[in-house]
């Protein structure tokens, strides 16, 4: 009852000086808006990185030739291009046969190639793969079909193309059954991949041609890769929780296959997508916390502004305080009135700041390529925090008001 009246007194005082109240709240407005925007952008970046890594395929282990080099710092391990082609078809076969809990093993070779078809030209990535590649990368066929194991083994020149390639070469026409020359080698298009859009790393995932491993290796990228060497082996584990075990088994098996003696370094490296994801998530999270901390400093500055104005208000309204005491207000009534005023000032700033922060995050997401995701706790947390700021920085001015001597206060001009 009386508490409600004290809230009314607090808002009455705030409304009495709209400009001053607005300027006082501005510090909190900026602070909260900055915190909300920074955490939203941070969360957006985190989601972008997650989807980028998830886009490579879930539960994936990538085996690359050459030893891992130190200094990657938890990111992707550097890999010497074209050197140390230590991985062979046989390695992939052995993994598929001897490691438990593996749903797909996909050896791969890559190249860049000029395509020509019906007078149109397009330069794109070409990947020599086996049908298991679709499973490993979580890809699906939109129309037509994937080439099968038999075709792949026989080195038949068939291809599955991405949507971008299809559009660039044939426009809206159905490319299935059409012929395309890849570096002058004719291939028959048998299927089109379902669109995956832009990858998290900014690459168009639909700008690709998949061909059978044998054919692509011997006819397209043969100058760099000879015999039965492959550039990567994608290993998909059956589930998330056996990923580490599968990675270890793959490593042990390959050491055996490559006859590496105990104590010697591996001539290949394995990367576990889950641990890369965790590492990059942690990096982004650290960055976000840092940004939010910087933004929180401006919230503290806003709090100091509130304290300053509240001290002015207490001095200005000394006579009012004396009068309230004379007509029966207890010291605690005065204390609560001024504390509420300070909390209300800060909370108003927090509400406006939250609105600006959310609006700003959405605007940034819409205008730029940078994603933003407002975390669900942004609302309650920023409002709670701005109330806390009001309470902390209003405490001293309110205490000063409550400690006034009513006689002195009434006499003040």
């Amino acid at each position: 009852m009386k508490f409600f009246e004290l809230i009314r007194f607090a808002f009455g005082a705030i409304i009495a000086h709209p400009l001053r109240s607005g300027l006082t709240s501005l510090g909190v407005v900026i602070g909260v808006a900055a915190v909300v925007m920074m955490t939203s952008i941070g969360l957006g970046a985190q989601q972008k990185v997650s989807s980028a890594i998830a886009g490579l395929g879930s539960n994936l282990i990538i085996v690359s030739p050459g030893a891992a080099r130190a200094g990657g710092g938890g990111g992707f391990v550097q890999q010497g291009a074209g050197t140390g082609l230590s991985l062979k078809d046989g390695d992939a076969e052995a993994i598929g046969k001897q490691v438990d809990g593996v749903t797909a093993v996909a050896p791969i070779v890559r190249g860049q190639a000029q395509l020509t078809a019906d007078g149109a030209n397009w330069n794109t990535r070409i990947e020599g793969v086996t049908p298991a590649y679709l499973v490993a990368r979580d890809l699906t066929i939109a129309s037509g079909r994937m080439f099968d194991e038999r075709e792949a083994r026989q080195g038949r020149k068939v291809a599955v193309i991405g949507e971008t390639v299809a559009r660039e070469l044939w426009g809206e026409a159905d490319p299935v059954g059409k012929r395309v020359r890849v570096r002058s080698v004719p291939f028959e298009v048998v299927g089109v991949l379902a669109s995956k859009g832009q990858s998290g790393f900014g690459q168009d995932q639909d700008d690709v041609v998949l061909g059978p491993l044998q054919a692509v290796r011997s006819r397209i990228v043969g100058r760099r890769i000879r015999g039965d060497a492959v550039q990567s082996i994608y290993v998909k584990a059956a589930s998330d929780d056996i990923l580490d075990r599968v990675q270890e088994d793959v490593t042990n098996l390959l050491r055996e296959q490559h006859k590496i003696r105990p104590g010697d370094d591996d001539d290949f490296s394995t990367q576990n997508m889950a641990s890369i994801l965790a590492a990059s998530q942690a990096a982004v999270a650290t960055f976000t916390v840092l940004l939010a901390a910087v933004a929180a400093v401006s919230l503290l500055v806003g709090g100091v502004g509130i304290m300053n104005i509240m001290l002015v208000a207490v001095t200005e309204r000394t006579r009012e305080i004396g009068l309230r005491m004379a007509v029966g207000a207890k010291r605690s009534d005065v204390l609560i009135q001024f504390a509420l005023e300070s909390v209300a000032l800060s909370l108003i700033g927090g509400i406006i700041g939250l609105a600006i922060g959310v609006g700003g995050a959405i605007a940034i997401a819409r205008l730029g390529s940078w994603p933003a995701a407002v975390p669900p706790w942004a609302g309650p947390l920023s409002l709670g925090f701005s109330m806390l700021v009001g309470l902390v920085f209003g405490a001293y001015p309110s205490w000063r008001a409550a400690r006034l001597d009513p006689i002195e206060a009434l006499r003040r001009e």
């Binding site: 005082a13 004396g322 009068l323 007509v327 029966g328 010291r331 006689i407 009434l410």
Partner: protein
Amino acid sequence: MIEIQDLRKVYIMGEEEVAALDGVNLSIARGESVAVIGPSGSGKSSLMNILGGLDRPTTGAYRFEGEDVGHFDDDQLAEFRRRRIGFVFQSFQLLPRLTALQNVELPMIYAGLPPHERRARAGDLLDLVGLGPRKGHRPTQLSGGQQQRVAIARALANAPDLLLADEPTGALDTHTGEEVMALFKQLNRDGLTLVIVTHDPEVAAETNRRVSFRDGHIIGDQQGAAA
């Protein structure tokens, strides 16, 4: 109603002790109207602050209806002022942001009266002091006399036992001052105990009893109408 025995109030001014009140004995009965007179620095303001529960005596006893007000703590004094005392100040002390009605409501808010009750009572009190048509005016829209009437209505809000007025006509012209004094006399006739601190002999002459102060002592206590 009021019993004061051997009351002393000592202020420390630098290294010196100044006794604003130096052994004051005074009793005031219910329904009296008393003028406390004396030059400035005589101790009459100190007496008023103690009577009103704004200050505590250094030594001596102050009893109000048998309650030992002299030894109340801050919260007890706040409640004492709210229930027992109505203050009228020389400078009115109205809150400029509030209307006349809201100013009168203020003490009742601290008494915890529900809004409709205190609004009705504040309206009645403004009618009583003759400001019925100006309930929604703010202090700046009212003349000095009108402002002092609002202040009197506010002092009456919680039906006090004692009305304490500190130079209530000091900021008013003679004519308005007389009107305000007439209002005080009427309230006193209706049974309200009245203590007016003043150095204006004409104001003092309107009361039934005049207590004179000098240097912290009572030097005169004259009963009955002024000569």
